[in-house]
């Protein structure tokens, strides 16, 4: 390792560093590759050697109504909770970035609190609340819980954009006679639109993958992760679950890559 005098610093020249990165990438992708392989392997038990290529698990998937219902429930919950969390997060972000008020720190803390409270505690607290005020467990209770846990993400994503924005545009709009709500609607919201879209997709994926709260708050209608946990002990359905998983993985990844592309715009 030579000392680099007179040129811009490029970090420790350890050849092991890229090697370490690629080793971890390999380890991280191994299970995902395995899932993909077993989703087209013609054997009910997930053991080597492989028994040949089949698409029957993907066909079987569409003939399992309980599974399809669970996926549909997850889509409903994720859509509702992500819309609510995005609206709420955007409101909080506008308040925090555009207004000075007493309780500003408190509002910040409140919006970030779900990141700090362990999910099992939050799940217990919400279950107690819903029981005490007489709301039965259903998709609605799951959606409310998912709204809560997504709010920190949506708030922070939109807030980062609003803080980084130049205030001159809003000043100009106001100088040209726009009302304050008009300025928000015509200047601030369009300017924050990529962040808002990215926040929505983040909230959607948070909800779609969430099970620690959903296990406590699910009634008879299950979301996909809750269904998955229930089914994991039955070995015969495993290949079908893996096939579903692979499809959902492709869907989630597409959403996330789109969100990333939008945010960078």
């Amino acid at each position: 390792m030579e000392t680099q005098v007179g040129r811009s610093w490029r970090g420790l020249r350890l050849p092991a560093l890229p090697g370490f990165y690629w080793l971890l990438i390999g380890l991280l992708y191994l299970p995902i590759v395995l899932l993909a392989v077993f989703s087209v392997n013609a054997n009910t038990s997930l053991t080597l050697p492989l028994r040949g290529f089949t698409l029957q698990w993907f066909e079987r998937l569409f003939e399992t109504p309980a599974l399809l219902t669970a996926v549909k429930n997850s889509l409903i919950v994720a859509t509702a909770s992500s819309l609510a969390a995005t609206a709420l997060g955007t409101m909080v972000a506008i308040l925090l970035s555009r207004f000075n008020f007493r309780g500003r720190g408190l509002l910040t803390g409140l919006a970030i609190l779900p990141l700090i409270v362990p999910y099992v505690v939050l799940a217990v607290a919400l279950l107690v609340l819903f029981t005490v005020i007489g709301i039965d467990r259903s998709l609605v209770t799951i959606a409310l819980a998912h709204t809560v846990v997504a709010v920190p993400y949506t708030t922070l994503i939109v807030l980062a954009r609003l803080i980084g924005a130049e205030p001159q545009l809003e000043d100009a709009a106001m100088d040209l006679g726009a009302t304050y709500p008009g300025t928000l609607r015509l200047v601030v919201l369009p300017m924050a639109a990529p962040a808002i879209a990215s926040a929505w997709i983040t909230a959607f994926t948070v909800s779609f993958d969430e099970f620690a709260l959903a296990l406590f708050l699910a009634g008879r209608e299950q979301t996909f992760p809750v269904y998955l946990i229930g089914q994991l002990r039955f070995a015969t359905t495993l290949p079908v679950l893996i096939a579903t998983a692979v499809l959902l993985m492709i869907g989630t990844l597409t959403l996330i890559l789109v969100a990333d592309r939008i945010r960078r715009r």
Binding site: G11, L28, P118, V120
Partner: protein
């Protein structure tokens, strides 16, 4: 939340100057008028935001706090009851629960420490060595984190189980006769699985901290003939501390309350404190005792987070 202003502390005064914009004399005067549009907007945004956040975060925690003093679940849950400390007494007297809480905290600390230690070289590589491809490499690292948590855990089971890929390939190759069963359903399996799933996430705050280091500091250190290791120890590491601490916290907090991963890969020996809470709510139906256990977990986590935040200094990390 003792020590914090009550819910009534919802903002009363609004100054017209937006935070990043210095208040102008012109902007300030109208804000005193009752129906100023800016003030109306403020209230239209504030009221629902406060109402929803308070009723879905603070109120549930208060209800749980209240329930932990209730003798039992009989009768109307909204009716007054004789508060009792029995559940807390029972928790204090049950040594196995304390041990479980200590063990869960220790497991979470080990998971967070190892994940952070593994993530540091990754973040270092991405920040200083990856060059123009850093963005691509970062996405490559994060994709596994974005795929379903449950499925990644399930995939680990596929690899580690007695009929899993490791055992069946070893048997196929004739290396072993009987499957190795030490790989799954114990405490180590829980810790290893959790480290594995958190590594990509732990990289993010460290990368943020490294990205904020002024590269001229490294140039200066190099010009002053600091050896590469001295540069790492004297320049990079001290400046990365907020990021390292943030990574530790961001892994520690969700891990200490885990109960699903232990269910899936922990077996009977690998349970965590969260599993006790889960049992009292979903199986034993002793909610008041479960609430007391939850309160203790909440307090312990909060104390650890407050200590942690002193080190992280989130404002410095975010640069706001």
């Amino acid at each position: 939340m003792p020590g914090r202003p009550p819910a009534g502390a919802v903002p009363e005064t609004v100054t017209a100057g937006a935070d990043p914009i210095p208040a102008t004399a012109a902007g300030r005067a109208p804000s005193r008028r009752p129906l100023n549009p800016r003030r109306a907007t403020f209230w239209a945004l504030s009221l629902p935001a406060w109402a929803i956040l308070l009723s879905l975060i603070v109120v549930p925690l208060l209800f749980m706090f209240g329930l932990s003093f209730r003798p039992d679940l009989r009768g109307d849950l909204l009716a007054p009851f004789n508060p009792t400390l029995d559940h807390y007494r029972q928790v204090v007297e049950t040594a196995s629960w304390w041990r479980q809480l200590g063990l869960s905290t220790l497991m979470a600390a080990i998971v967070a420490l190892v994940a952070t230690a593994v993530a540091f070289p990754l973040a270092y590589f991405l920040a200083f060595r990856a060059g123009r491809r850093a963005g691509l490499y970062l996405i490559l690292l994060l994709v596994p984190f974005w795929t379903s948590y449950l499925l990644r855990v399930m995939a680990w089971k596929l690899m580690l189980g007695t009929e899993g890929v490791i055992n069946s390939s070893l048997a196929f190759l004739g290396v072993i006769d009987a499957p190795l069963d030490a790989l799954l359903y114990n405490r180590n399996a829980v810790v290893i699985t959790l480290i594995y799933v958190w590594i990509p996430f732990a990289t993010l705050p460290i990368l943020a901290a490294l990205g904020r280091i002024d590269v001229r500091l490294h140039d200066a250190a190099a010009d002053l003939y600091a050896s590469p290791w001295q540069q790492l120890r004297r320049v990079t590491l001290p400046l990365a501390i907020p990021g390292l601490a943030a990574a530790f916290l961001m892994v520690f907090i969700p891990t200490v309350g885990e109960y699903v991963t232990p269910l899936l890969v922990g077996g009977s020996g690998g349970t965590m404190y969260g599993n006790i809470i889960q049992d009292f709510f979903l199986r034993a139906a002793n909610w008041p005792l479960g609430s007391a256990l939850s309160m203790i977990m909440l307090v312990v986590t909060m104390v650890l987070v407050v200590i942690g935040l002193r080190v992280v200094q989130p404002r410095r990390l975010l640069g706001v």
